[in-house]
Each structure stands twice: as structure tokens, then as C-alpha cells.
């Protein structure tokens, strides 16, 4: 208690110096938290825009006829697992869409609309027209519709690879934010697609979203073991998005490096400032030692100082970081009210940074604490 009391008094008796140290710590911590939160938010929005409308795991056929036989049993079985958030079996195939003299290659996606919508969020991306309700109605991607100069209600002819033609009615257009989808997708009824490509009652892919994007590979492996079916191939998004993953990892490492560098410089700054205060307070420490204070309690005075500076500096730093973030959001929000980056405030990251800051400030206090042990009271008392 005496050590804490002396530590506090040393700090409060030199308010300007203490204020400067706290300012230094808090600016560093705030930059650390700000950068950390910003990079994390960028990552989340990147993953979100890439994976928000995509399945995490896709099951396809490894057979020559590319169809999955027991798909109804498979989906029913997978649907029972807790990790599965949404599951959609679809009949897909490449075809051509004709309107007048324009011909475009398309990917027919034969969906059960409601279950597919929970993965692809097509109804959210629908910007013109309405959802396809009856059998011969379809939806189309934005770019494809523009290429074919279509408007809702128009008819379009789809030619399957075997040459057969089907005329379908376009009821609406969607924009899923991914150009390859917007350019090629035709969303049709599953049985229309099955007929068109001669799949019978079979499907060609089962799309799944899980409750944890980043464990999709683990979950996919589990499925492989559980289903134990050589006729199917199970792929997860990580296999198909290596470069995205590498980008994320690169960002994560650079963010961690920035944070480590900041923490080290904060610790060095605190250690050197406290080392100076040992010199400033050497008279006091000499006299305390002459009065019989134990070395351990003297060392504690400086550890407490580091700890207290860390606590206050880190609290102010968190406040500053949130302020910085707030002004960043308001500066970067466009007139239409859409922020450039959707800032996600990760409280775990904030608390973790706070704890690391307090710990490193306390550890920084070890350096002056060690110096204080060497201080010999006679030297101080002689100097006068």
C-alpha cells in the first residue's frame, strides 16, 4: 500500500510530466487500436463482398454425367447438422440466350428459389421486376439483361447444348455485386433446368453456407468423412479463393506488425521516462531506504507507476481511438450516407489492445525498478 501511495504521489506531484507520458501512451494506443480496427473492418467488408452471396461449401458430382444421384437424401442428411446454415440443390448447365440477333453464353441455375435465396440473397439484389413464380419464368443478372436489352416481361430463348430451344419469360433483374454472376446467370426453376439439360430428377450441385466461414475447410472435411461417397466431390471456398486468403493473411500480418512495433515503442518510451524518474527521485528513494523500506517495495513503486500510467494512458487511448474512428467515418461517408468502409467495432480487439498496453507499461516499469535496486542511500545522503 505504501508503494502504491508513493507511486501515486510521485505521479501527481509532477502533473505536467505525467500528463505528457499519458498523452504519449494514449496517442500510441489509439493509433494501434485505430489501425487494428480499420484493417479488421476492411477485411470483414472484403470477405463480406466476396463471400456474402456465395456458398462456403459446394458439392458436385464426380461422375461423367455430372449429376448427383441421391441428392434428396444427401441434403436431408446435411441439413440435420448444426453447422449448416443454408443448403440448396440446383440443376445447372451452360447454354445460350437469344434475343433478336444477340446471342450470349449463360449459366442456367435451376434453383428451388427459397432455399437458394438464403445463400445467394437474390431477392435482396432484385432491382427491377419481380421474383419468378411460375415454371417458365426466369430472373437474369444485370449485365446480361443490359447486353440483351431486356425489360421485365420480355421473352427470351434459351438454347441448350443439344440444340433444343426453350422460350422463357424474364420477370426481373438482379445485381449481386459480382460481375461474373451479373454477366452470366439465369435463375430458373429447378425442374425447367432438369428438363432442359436432360438431368431427369437429378441435380448437379449442392450449395451450402455454414455458420463459420473460416472453418469451412474443416467442415468440408468432416462432410467428406461422414458422407463417404465416391460419386461426389466436396469443395470449400478456401480452395477456390487462395489469393483472397493470401491477401487477408498479408493484411493480418502487417496489422499485427504495426501493433507490435507500436507496443514496443510505447514500452521503450515508458521504460526510459521512468528510468529518468528514478534519477529525479533518487533523493527520495535514498531517504526511504535509510528509513528501512525494503528493496522490493521500492521496486514496486516503479512497477506501480508503469501500471498506473498504462491503465490511464490506455483508457484515454481507447477513447481517442473511438473518436478517431468516429471522425474517420464522418469524413469518409459520402453524401448519400454510404461509408467508404463499414467500420466494425471489435470490442475484443479493443480490450485485448488495452490489456496488452497495460501489461507492457507494467513490464516497462521493470527497467526503472531494477535501477532503483542499485541505488545506495549513502551516495544520495552524502550529496546534499
Amino acid at each position: 500500500m505504501l508503494s502504491l501511495k508513493i507511486a501515486l504521489r510521485f505521479l501527481t506531484s509532477n502533473k505536467l510530466q505525467t500528463a505528457f507520458i499519458i498523452l504519449g501512451i494514449s496517442v500510441a494506443i489509439s493509433v494501434q487500436i485505430f489501425v487494428g480496427l480499420l484493417i479488421e473492418s476492411l477485411q470483414i467488408s472484403l470477405v463480406d463482398s466476396t463471400m456474402g452471396n456465395a456458398p462456403h461449401i459446394t458439392i458436385t458430382s464426380s461422375r461423367d454425367d455430372i449429376t448427383i444421384r441421391r441428392w434428396e437424401q444427401l441434403t436431408a442428411q446435411l441439413d440435420r447438422y448444426n453447422v449448416v446454415k443454408a443448403i440448396s440443390a440446383s440443376a445447372n448447365g451452360n447454354a445460350y440466350a437469344k434475343k433478336g440477333s444477340t446471342i450470349k453464353p449463360v449459366l442456367i441455375r435451376g434453383f428451388d428459389f427459397d432455399s437458394a435465396d438464403r445463400i445467394y440473397h437474390i431477392s435482396e439484389g432484385l432491382y427491377n421486376g419481380r421474383i419468378n413464380k411460375s415454371r417458365n419464368e426466369i430472373l437474369m443478372g444485370k449485365d446480361l439483361a443490359q447486353d440483351l436489352e431486356l425489360k421485365p416481361g420480355d421473352s427470351v430463348t434459351i438454347s441448350a447444348p443439344d440444340g433444343s430451344n426453350t422460350t422463357l419469360k424474364v420477370t426481373g433483374f438482379f445485381d449481386l455485386g459480382i460481375s461474373s454472376i451479373n454477366k452470366t446467370w439465369v435463375v430458373a426453376n429447378r425442374d425447367v433446368a432438369q428438363d432442359m439439360f436432360g438431368y431427369g430428377s437429378r441435380v448437379t450441385s449442392i450449395d451450402i453456407t455454414t455458420n463459420n466461414l473460416f472453418y469451412a475447410d474443416v467442415i468440408a472435411n468432416l462432410f467428406k468423412i461422414m458422407l463417404n461417397d465416391n460419386d461426389i466431390r466436396i469443395e470449400n471456398w478456401k480452395q477456390l479463393n487462395q489469393s483472397l486468403l493470401r491477401g487477408l493473411e498479408g493484411q493480418r500480418i502487417s496489422s499485427a506488425m504495426i501493433q507490435v512495433v507500436i507496443i514496443i515503442s510505447v514500452a521503450i518510451a515508458i521504460a526510459s521516462i521512468l528510468a529518468i524518474t528514478v534519477l529525479q527521485k533518487s533523493r527520495q528513494i535514498g531517504i526511504l531506504k535509510a528509513m528501512g523500506i525494503k528493496n522490493r517495495d521500492v521496486a514496486l513503486i516503479f512497477l506501480y507507476q508503469g501500471f498506473l500510467l498504462g491503465i490511464v494512458g490506455a483508457i484515454v487511448g481507447v477513447g481517442l481511438a473511438l473518436g478517431l474512428l468516429q471522425s474517420f467515418i464522418s469524413f469518409t461517408t459520402s453524401d448519400s450516407g454510404v461509408p467508404v468502409v463499414d467500420v466494425y467495432i471489435d470490442y475484443f480487439l479493443i480490450i485485448r489492445s488495452w490489456i496488452i498496453a497495460v501489461l507492457s507499461a507494467t513490464i516497462a516499469g521493470l527497467v526503472p525498478a531494477r535501477n532503483s535496486l542499485k541505488l545506495n542511500p549513502v551516495d544520495v545522503i552524502r550529496e546534499g
Binding site: 505504501l2 528509513m291 528501512g292 528493496n295 549513502v378 545522503i381 546534499g384
Partner: protein, 230 residues
């Protein structure tokens, strides 16, 4: 009577670089419990060195120091700290109070080192000491707001808070005018009589020496004379 401090064959040699300077030569001294002694001598004769060795702040190069029947050579830093805290009060020439604290807080620090907390009894004792020092009106002042004489008396109160058996004072009146200096001498006498504290005062001031029962004169690190006046 029992001796409270005993110096046996104490030598002190300072080594600066390769130069060795012997400051104390074979000092043998014994101080009785409850006695009041002054140590005088010219500047540089080794008085402060001797006092620091008696107070366990410094260690002799040869010889040993026995305090209250306990040999100090073998004790480690913590044991010496406890011994100093509970047995010895120091008053230094340049008062050495903690400027960040009030007079009262300064006086209580040795007892906080001893007991970790301050109880009613200690507070009463502090009040009484401030009373004796004539400082009751200023006891809650910050040190920096007190006069030199007030600071010196506060330092004496602090030296006495743990009711030490020994009080070592190095030129306690060195910076004071004669009025303040007389006052401190009479305080020492009172405390010596009331608490039975053993006093050892290093001084240049012959008027201070006149107040003591025994006067030891040091010259060039040796005892030149040792006069008992009662």
C-alpha cells in the same frame, strides 16, 4: 550499563579507481543505552562516514558493528532495512524529507514501512511529537511550504515516530540560526529523558556539544579524545 551500539576495530577504506583512501582507522567505541553523545571533528575527519557505518547505511572495510546486541556483518539487505526501520532514527544535515508529501505524511512513513498501515496510537504519537516540536499548526503543510527550521524539526519527529532506541543525527543544526539550534538541543534532551532514546549527534557546533554528556573528537579518522562530562 548495556551498550546499544558497539564498534569493534572498524576501518573504512574508500577506493576510487586505483586510489585507496583510508578514512577510518581501527575505531573502537561503545555507546550506552540512553546516553547522549556528540561527535566533533574538522571537516573531512570521517564523522559522517562513522555515522553511516553505525547506522548500517554503509559497511566497514574491516571490523564489525553490533547494534542492540546484534552483529550486523552477516545480515542481508532486508534484515538491515528492518533493523534500521525499527531501531534507528536518522536526522541528516540536509533534512531529507519527501517534498511530495505533507509534514504529517513524512512523519508517518517510517511507521507505514513498519506496520503497513497507520493506527490510532501512531497518529496520537505523531500529534504528540508535532506538539513537542512546536509544529502543530503546520503539520499538514506540504514540506515545500515550511521553513528550514520547521523542516528540520519535522525530520526529527519522523526519526522518532517508531520510538527507535537510537537516534543518529548528522549536523542537525548545521543550517539553523542559534535560536533554532538551541531549540533542537532542548528537544533532544527532552526526548532523551522522556523516551530513554540514545542520542549520537555529529556536529561542528560546540554549543550543541555542550548539551551532551559525552564528547568524542575525531581527527583524521582516529579518535583523538573521548570525554565523559558527567
Amino acid at each position: 550499563m548495556d551498550s546499544i551500539i558497539e564498534l569493534i576495530g572498524v576501518d573504512k577504506i574508500y577506493t576510487v579507481g586505483s586510489v585507496e583512501t583510508q578514512v577510518l582507522f581501527d575505531i573502537n567505541l561503545s555507546f550506552e543505552k540512553g546516553s547522549c553523545t556528540s561527535i566533533i571533528g574538522t571537516s573531512g575527519s570521517g564523522k559522517s562516514t562513522l555515522m553511516h557505518i553505525m547506522g548500517t547505511l554503509d559497511t566497514p572495510t574491516a571490523g564489525s558493528v553490533v547494534i542492540d546486541g546484534q552483529k550486523t556483518d552477516g545480515l542481508d539487505g532486508n534484515a538491515l532495512a528492518v533493523l534500521r526501520n525499527q531501531t534507528i532514527g536518522f536526522v541528516f544535515q540536509f533534512h531529507y524529507l519527501l517534498p511530495e508529501f505533507s509534514a504529517m505524511e513524512n512523519v508517518l512513513i517510517p511507521s507505514m514501512i513498519k506496520n503497513r498501515k497507520v493506527d490510532r496510537q501512531t497518529l496520537d504519537r505523531a500529534d504528540k511529537l508535532f506538539d513537542m516540536m512546536g509544529l502543530s499548526a503546520v503539520k499538514h503543510y506540504l514540506i515545500t511550504k515550511m521553513s528550514g527550521g520547521q523542516q528540520q524539526r519535522t525530520a526529527i519527529a519522523r526519526a522518532l515516530i517508531n520510538n527507535p532506541k537510537i537516534l543518529l543525527a548528522d549536523e542537525p543544526t548545521g543550517n539553523l540560526d542559534s535560536e533554532n539550534s538551541d531549540r533542537i538541543c532542548s528537544i533532544f534532551r527532552n526526548i532523551n529523558q522522556e523516551f530513554g532514546t540514545t542520542f549520537i549527534v555529529v556536529t561542528h557546533d560546540t554549543r550543541v556539544a555542550e548539551h551532551t554528556d559525552r564528547v568524542i573528537t575525531i581527527k583524521d579518522g582516529k579518535i583523538e579524545s573521548d570525554i565523559n562530562r558527567i
